[in-house]
Amino acid sequence: MNNILNEIGIENYIFLSTILFCIGVFGVLYRRNAIIVFMSIEIMLNAVNLLFVAFSTYHQDAQGQIFVFFSMAVAAAEVAVGLAILVSIFRNLGSIDINNLKNLKG
């Protein structure tokens, strides 16, 4: 099988990942629902994962893909902890609107 990078070019992957990453950033800034913010972060991580795989192909090296595994593990762990925190907040406040979380300031 011909290598696809000859056809697509690594730059395109970089651009795609960057845009995806930036959308993630945008989501973090744009939304006030903690869960969506959270999802945005997942988008960011996925963007990076995609880039990892692309680079892995580019270098023809397995390490990039291995790293994606770790990245997934991290994402899973973060999700577990993050959702636990969210649930705990929801229990205390009845809301997960991050705009309501302004008690600590100054």
């Binding site: 290598n3 056809e7 795609l16 959308i23 945008f26 869960i35 988008i43 577990a80 636990a84 969210l86």
Partner: protein, 170 residues
């Protein structure tokens, strides 16, 4: 334009669009579903890049585990309403500005950077079959692999800690 490029473009468009919709849609459930689609399209990219194992893994972990967790939480909190008030305009403006800024900056840098010279030459070596991945992961990357378990252990203890009621509270 080759087929692969067309597939790439379509997949990319889907990925970006669904990612954007994830953020844009008001209903958290919709967001979650869009995100699932986005993840699938990313898995499509993986397939395109010929890393089938990773694609499967990705679908299992993200769509299967993480997204279910999300959905579960959304349901638990009963958030499936479009009740979210938008952030103040200034904040949204700030978000958009920073989005444009960061995209522009990053893309500008990548465009500015000197183009990758030379053909991409495939050596033909196997680097992404399950076998190779397994070997690398469990030989070279044995320590991080083990350490990832610590990570998950910490996450587990943490989740328990955050949810467990104190016994001494009387």
């Amino acid at each position: 334009m080759s087929t692969i490029l067309i597939i790439f473009c379509v997949l990319s468009a889907v990925t970006i669009a669904t990612a954007f919709l994830t953020i844009y849609s008001r209903n958290p459930i919709h967001s979650a579903l869009y995100l699932v689609i986005s993840f699938f399209s990313i898995a499509g990219h993986y397939l395109l890049l010929n890393s089938q194992f990773l694609a499967i893994m990705h679908i299992i972990v993200y769509s299967g585990a993480i997204m279910i967790l999300f959905l579960f939480t959304i349901m638990l909190m009963n958030l499936n309403k479009e009740n979210e008030v938008h952030k103040p305009r200034i904040t949204r403006l700030g978000a958009i500005v920073s989005f444009c800024l960061i995209s522009l900056v990053l893309i500008a840098i990548f465009i500015n950077s000197k183009p990758i010279v030379g053909e991409y030459i495939s050596t033909g070596a196997d680097y992404q079959s399950i076998k190779v991945l397994g070997l690398v992961l469990l030989n070279e990357y044995m320590v991080p692999f083990e350490f990832a378990s610590i990570l998950l252990l910490v996450a587990m203890i943490g989740s328990v800690l955050l949810s467990k009621k104190e016994k001494t509270e009387k």
